[in-house]
Symmetry: C2
Subunit: 357 residues, 2 copies
Amino acid sequence: MKRKITLKQIARELDVSISTVSKALSNSKEISEDTTQKIQAFAKLYNYKPNNIALSLKNRKTKTIGILIPEIVHHFFSTVIRGIELVANRRGYNVIVGLSNESFTKEIINMEMLANGSIDGFILSISKETLLKQDYHHFNATINQGMPIVMFDRVVNEVDCDKVIVDDFNGSVKAVKKLIENNCKNIALITTMDYVSVGRLRTQGYIEALESHKIIANPNLILKIDDSLDVENHLEDLELEIEQFFKTNGNIDGVFAVNELYAVTAMKVARKLGLSIPDNIQVIGFTDGVLSKHATPSLTTVSQHGQKIGEQAANLLIDRLVAADTEDDQYFTNDERKSDFIKVVIETEIIERESTK
Amino acid sequence: MKRKITLKQIARELDVSISTVSKALSNSKEISEDTTQKIQAFAKLYNYKPNNIALSLKNRKTKTIGILIPEIVHHFFSTVIRGIELVANRRGYNVIVGLSNESFTKEIINMEMLANGSIDGFILSISKETLLKQDYHHFNATINQGMPIVMFDRVVNEVDCDKVIVDDFNGSVKAVKKLIENNCKNIALITTMDYVSVGRLRTQGYIEALESHKIIANPNLILKIDDSLDVENHLEDLELEIEQFFKTNGNIDGVFAVNELYAVTAMKVARKLGLSIPDNIQVIGFTDGVLSKHATPSLTTVSQHGQKIGEQAANLLIDRLVAADTEDDQYFTNDERKSDFIKVVIETEIIERESTK
DNA sequence: TTTCAACACGAAAACGTTTTCGCTAAGAAT
DNA sequence: ATTCTTAGCGAAAACGTTTTCGTGTTGAAA
């Protein structure tokens, strides 16, 4: 039950001043070898470690990164966190996690909780509700207060900051081209509503791939699922919707789905309808998660490299933090900075498994 | 690029003292209505928010909980985090996350990084390597420094602290009993090596269920998988091992697996061997994750209620924190405290799906 | 003997709060 | 006219650091 020991206590115990203790512990040559030895021994004995909070206050930086994501029980997001934590730790930072739960208000509350000194910068992915409202003032507000933000995956042009995104467009193009080259003639797209930029880009990629092969996209082959409600708990609805979709379009021989849940559900429905995979119908999903890997047949996917995204984001943020630390007094107007912001695009990769030929 | 405004700046701007500003903002009646109004208006205009770090230093508490888990890309653990974050947020706390990556050293490093003032208490689950080494001094050390710990899932008797665990034993009993009642005559167990207590308990539950039905456990029907190496990247090995197991025990008509990966792999192998599920062979897995839900056939599982575990753990920890805050100067010896520690057992629940009759 | 550098250390400020205590002035009570 | 309240505010300490700037002592150089 003994509290952690402080400089002051060591000083009192050894009958020297606080400054002396501090200097001795940092091996300052101002202090004689004798006292240094004595102090260091004592400190080691009592397992002295400087108090982080005091350091944060003094240095006006916390060595902590705030992560703000919509959801944590989610393969992609947790992979990104792992990447962030990896480089953060390596570079001496901690990570503090906030969940917006896809809610605009929770996003704001979380940001305000953290922006008051608790962290040095944010890495975040925007909540669906925020994307719907298109209200980004809280991001710009915290940036204006001198706190850097790095956005990933769900980003938005209205905010000037570093961004790390998946090449959704080209990922889709690659996937759909693969289906075309595998001789699929009627390729369906199962996607979400458009307000999440990510979904929109993937849809565009689908169309682009078709057009590059002189195929005009058939609107009937595009199924837009309303994911505003909790899909995980309405699995049957999803299944029914896809089944209906398959039935009214009997000639589908290829499916590109914008996430793995839609993809495996499509496979399930296909099999139920007596289609065999990949012989009668081939399936590719975006997002390479556990489902894809362990489904039967295993699913060919477009991998997003979540961990790499996290690593990049963390490096970007920390780079900016140390830069701000060194330039320090130099003054930039916002306009000068603007051009500085980096948008890193992480290339996707097709992981071939059993659901394609 | 304007830094956040401080009390001092407000004071200077309004030509009053810092104390006056502080009091006015907390509506102290020491300050006249006039000045209070003036100060509050000014503060609101400049969006003043007290600096958390300064508060932490002054109050000697950070209102932050440290979470230390072996892995984050993992359905169970991320579910627990969600539960922790939920109640933490509701009760005014933040969460800071550290990953041990199943490594003893990283666990220690992370603890030391956080234990120096950054957090008020820990919620953690022990890494495999630590369990192997059975070296728990770092836990006891931080507890002795006055920092409370709540352990969940992977806990250990050698450390005196609050614990939240899954009823692994009874969960297994329930599962295996269900298989027995479903007329399985030769029930196999697919489990891990024993050093993770969780695995051991589940094995014991399996045996207990059999014995309660006067069946003597057949050692040949128990497959222990060495998960010390990264299973996710050696899927084929796992598959082969299980296939071999099935072949040498041709009469298996029920499988209980201690995690969902083993369970779905078992289903895969079973189907490959021409067995139909659940007619020829029924399968139940521990851990209710995405795989179970979306496998075909979907998997009957023992749900651990990860979110509930997280919520309980957070409540336990925060309760103890506020208690420590109020009792404050009262002094307890470790022995007196010992009896105080709570072990909460979260009951499991069988979620019936298609892999059982 | 005087001067000077080097050495070894301490005092104090600063980071941003909250809170206790003290002080002044004005009005009330004596 | 003197004392007492009370309202309204400021000074200062404290939380635990680091760092700058003294300051006193010592031995050597002059």
